[in-house]
Amino acid sequence: MKYVPYVLLAIAALLFPYAVSQVFLHTPIEAEMGTAQKIFYFHVPLAWTTMVFGVVCGIAAGIQLRIRSERAEAIAVAAGEMVVLCGAGVLITGPIWGDATWGTPWTGDARQTSTALLWLVFVAYLLVRRYGPANSDRLAAALAIFGAVDVPIIYYAVKIWKTIHPQTTVVGSLPGSMWATLWLCVAAILPTCIALVWIRADQERSAMALDRAWIERDAAAATA
């Protein structure tokens, strides 16, 4: 199990160059948007990853709130960081793509706004988790659960409100070559993110164990 994240990273390292070559050399240029549509192949997987880890963080935080599990807490922190990382990617590449195709980087539509809200909630989660007072982990967990609730809002935003964003059905309607390239990019990004979350969760558990060891050592020194 110790080597699982490194195996995932090795798979991703092999897939990334292949995915990028497929995007630029073997996938046709989209007729309406032109070459700028190539941003889609990494923007969408990043958005999906953000949502997946938003839900993972919310569930782990809920478990941590309920049964005080150290493992759940470590996973929640690691997943929260991944949401912020991938969310930043989505919130930067989206406006770049929008600027190229819509002529404006930010339209303030429901999907953009709810994604920005998700990102801010998880930034707040990490800040409370890191700089909050003692027992602020409960407040942080509540924030993570609130963030996870935002995920279905992001998904259904294009169905509920009028937005310039493409509908959720757009992936299913892609031509075969574009569809295959998109899933290849998902296959490159997702293992990378799982591996990074895995490594970060291990680090968090080690940090907790180290903290405990320091406290025990100080207590032993005080009683001696």
Binding site: T35, A36, K38, E81, L85, I96, D99, L210
Partner: protein, 91 residues
């Protein structure tokens, strides 16, 4: 007298070929207006492709920087933890 019936030497073109409509070849794309429109279209496409490429480089660059930056952050954290563990073991 039939005035349309010109002598053979007068109806022939200076080069010696007859200028009947069947022999005139239409030259495509030589019309200045068409050429001007084509050039304008080409420069518009060129500007769009250049702009798209610039956007793509920025988008992919940002993704690369984010992931490499996070990887380095994890590596630094791991080093700091290792140093902390060594300090704890020495005491």
């Amino acid at each position: 007298m039939d005035i349309t019936a010109l002598p053979e030497s007068e109806s022939a073109a200076p080069g010696g070929e007859a200028e009947s409509p069947e022999n005139v070849k239409k030259v495509e794309g030589r019309d200045p207006e068409t050429v001007r429109l084509k050039r304008a279209y080409e420069s518009e496409v060129e500007a769009k492709v250049a702009s798209d490429h610039q956007h793509i480089v920025w988008a992919y660059g940002v993704i690369w920087v984010l992931f490499v930056g996070y990887g380095m952050l994890l590596w630094r954290r791991a080093n700091a933890q290792r140093a902390d563990l060594e300090r704890l073991q020495k005491r």
